[in-house]
Symmetry: C2
Subunit: 215 residues, 2 copies
């Protein structure tokens, strides 16, 4: 093996020096941080690991963030985008109530299979106490918003005579709770086999149908 200027393809020994604008480098850093933090937790993650994965050195990283905690904060803040329920679209594209419920459950379960979302959830649970402000913000923007939207959607269905006025209409979080259960399983036991995920999804749908469908 020639030890010349570019040992190259072995195990990238020195991708010379790549100069990127902050606008393109920072997302790379946050992507790397998400992987590293969620794999090892906050304390066990080394700045050098994040930097290496983002394609620069520690010193370079410090040009963009003043410390480890600032990286963490920026990471959580980036994931604050609320997954807005397309209420109108759901109502429009669902022939009947059962279809609507299936769409709804599928949207919720899609979040579970999204690795970035899972990683963020794990960080939120295990390291969230570091940044109570960010967590509170996340609660408002994501959780409360989703509860609210679910409530609006369901009350509209009731008004339109599409479904019964069940307990879950007044407590939309009950609709989310099976997803919470599955999330906990995934966090504690690792990724569940597709079969179990499908069973969970189907049981979830069935229960909601039982609760909401007109008899």
């Amino acid at each position: 093996m020639p030890a010349s200027d570019k040992p190259a393809d072995e195990a990238e020994t020195r991708p010379p020096r790549q100069r990127l604008s902050p606008d393109t480098r920072i997302p790379l850093i946050l992507d790397a941080a998400l992987v590293e933090f969620s794999a090892r937790g906050y304390n066990a993650t080394r700045i050098d690991d994040i930097a290496a994965r983002a394609g620069l050195s520690k010193g370079g990283l410090y040009a963009h963030f003043s410390g480890k905690d600032k990286v963490f904060e920026a990471l959580l803040k980036r994931s604050l985008v609320a997954p807005v329920l397309e209420i109108e679209s759901l109502l429009a594209h669902s022939a009947d109530m059962r279809t609507l419920i299936e769409h709804l459950v599928d949207i919720l379960h899609a979040q579970l299979t999204n690795p970035a979302m899972r990683a963020t959830a794990r960080l939120l649970l295990s390291e969230g106490h570091r940044l109570p402000d960010v967590v509170a913000l996340w609660r408002q923007n994501t959780l409360d918003a989703m509860h609210f939207q679910l409530g609006v959607l369901l009350r509209r269905c009731v008004t339109q005579g599409l479904c019964k006025d069940s307990t879950v209409v007044r407590h939309p979080w009950l609709i989310l709770s099976p997803v919470a259960h599955t999330l906990i399983q995934q966090l504690a036991f690792g990724t569940l086999p597709p079969k179990e995920l499908r069973q969970a999804r189907d049981a979830h749908v069935d229960m909601l149908c039982e609760l909401l469908l007109m008899t």
Copy 2:
């Protein structure tokens, strides 16, 4: 301030040297470890902190455990005791189905308000990957066992004509899921106000009644 032999009551400067048998010291160490680990996570917890809280020095702690990971392992193993559902007792002491559901939900929610259980759950989620064997054991002993018992209980109720044959009878985990949701909230946002806990409990009961009670 006299720097004599016992500055005593200031900030306990030297509770001289207490010699305890392993049988009494080890539980103290595990109690301390639960507090420290769940407050700061595995990596951020120092051996000295655990030792200090347990009332001895680091060297003393190493007389009982050969390392930090062994303490952690012993801690999780200690909490493996399954909270067995008193099925017979539940059936005997419940006048009607609604009362039985209320008892059931109360048992589940009692776990949530138990600080030691919450701390263990947090550790299991955030640091469980360190000890996959212990986590798998916990799953068998606790989660699967509880699902099984719930299934037995509900099927018996159906057979005795006490309740409908709902989806949740075939998927008992759905009954647990609202508790999972509340658990996540507690872990992410800290202890919930009693009012919200009670609302969650009531909504849970109402939903189960809707699903199970004969019409």
